[in-house]
Symmetry: C2
Subunit: 274 residues, 2 copies
């Protein structure tokens, strides 16, 4: 029997992966979660029928959401990840000499599935520097502070994650950061979410002294061309000493990629301008 | 009735577009050609059931395959495009003060379909500087010379286009170029064609003094992360004066994007290294 997973990236665009092995499919209290294997993309995790990661290309997203803010900060010691229960972002953060990584994931089943099926992503969960909280990130940032970097590694701005893209939330993130703190959020494709990107970057720039949008290509995400929005309290992201960035074991990130990733094409600049 | 076009990007990965209007579907002497409309991606042209362009994202491919080599060259006057019968590359070239653009397209029906359904792409065909040859590009470069820039705007390295990726062909391209000439070829996704990219860049670098691979994101192409390989006889692509690049009416290309597009991620460097 031929089995396919299909994601409707919109009503009119569909992306399908042939299922070599269907490994896991559950309903958690928050969402449906599936794990399967595809011959070309490797192991795949979906939440509510949206691809979250494939082992073939996950390194791009996880490296770019982590190393850009961490190397922009002079010496991050305490880092918070909101969402990101698969562990890929934690794995990348632990390549830095940080002291503590807090992961706040609302859905414990995501972490469990990653431990079971994605050992290369969840490897950092057993590191003594990592602490996992199964809580709502929105509430967590109201009650906790002292972070150098906060990474918002959320699902799309629909359903449970919608509050992670609100101005109130960003204000609480701002307050949970130290004086030279930096936040970054994944902020979708500029092809299909131009208006959204404009609103989010405007909200972040109303709070932070510096706001920078940067891009990377994520083949299995809708539109493939992905944005991240960084807010920084005191450090100007474009003016750091790129030559001073130390070598790091990565597959996509490099200091040259870092330097170039803030160059926005005219169509993106136009989408976010007033 | 619900109609969908599906492209098997591999045996295990499928990309589908809902057909709003099916406009054209013919067998030419060389390939099957279809034109349809999709609500999100606009007008779509396929050849042998592979998406060639959508009016939503074609600007990225056409701007990047044209402006990078043309601005690398000091003052291109005579430019040759091999393939590219849709006209998008010619449209971009004509934004430069060139004297002649020659388009060599083996399949006249591609040009005719573009004239009929893609006026925003085929607009340059009526420019007095444009001359179209319905010939085989492989033979054409053996018989013609005097070009400043040659752009190989081909389909995938399968079927009729396979000869456009051979070392013999690149040698003829080299000979058809002036002394400071530059060639560029679209060279597929490094995700799925790493070995291919290695072979092609090795062939080009055995002929040209400078070989540079650069990247762009093409959402509707398999793997989305796309490479172009540039060969240059005397001008070093990385050392041009980027600040001297004049403003140009584009949606993706800019001098900052140009400067950053040569930064290759470690995984691409690894794929092409020996």
């Amino acid at each position: 029997m031929e089995l396919w997973f299909s994601e409707y990236q919109s009503k009119n665009v569909k992306f399908s992966l042939r299922i070599k092995n269907m490994l896991y499919s559950i309903k958690t209290p928050y969402q449906s979660l599936s794990v399967f294997e595809n011959e070309d993309m490797g192991m795949v995790m979906t939440l509510d029928d949206v691809v979250q990661l494939t082992t073939k290309d996950e390194f791009i997203y996880h490296e770019m959401i982590s190393h850009v803010p961490l190397f922009t900060h002079k010496s991050p010691k305490k880092v918070l990840v909101i969402g990101g229960g698969d562990g890929g972002t934690v794995r990348e953060i632990l390549k830095h000499p940080v002291k503590e990584v807090h992961l706040v994931e609302i859905d414990e089943q995501v972490v469990e599935a990653s431990k079971k099926f994605f050992p290369t992503l969840s490897s950092g969960f057993s590191d003594p520097r990592t602490k996992i909280f199964f809580e709502d990130g929105i509430e967590f940032v109201k009650m906790n502070a002292g972070y150098d970097v906060i990474i918002i590694d959320s699902t799309d701005p629909l359903g449970p994650a919608v509050g992670l893209f609100s101005k109130d939330f960003y204000e609480n993130v701002f307050n949970a950061l130290n004086e030279d703190g930096i936040m970054v959020a994944q902020t979708e494709s500029p092809f299909f979410y131009g208006e959204f990107l404009k609103r989010v970057s405007s909200d972040i720039s109303s709070l932070f002294k510096y706001t920078s949008i940067y891009t990377a290509v994520i083949p299995t995400y809708p539109g493939a061309y992905w944005t991240f929005t960084l807010g920084s309290k005191t450090i100007e992201p474009a003016s750091i000493d790129f030559e001073a960035i130390p070598g790091i074991d990565t597959k996509y990130y490099s200091r040259e990629i870092h330097k170039g990733c803030f160059a926005l094409p005219p169509f993106v600049k136009k989408a976010i301008s007033n």
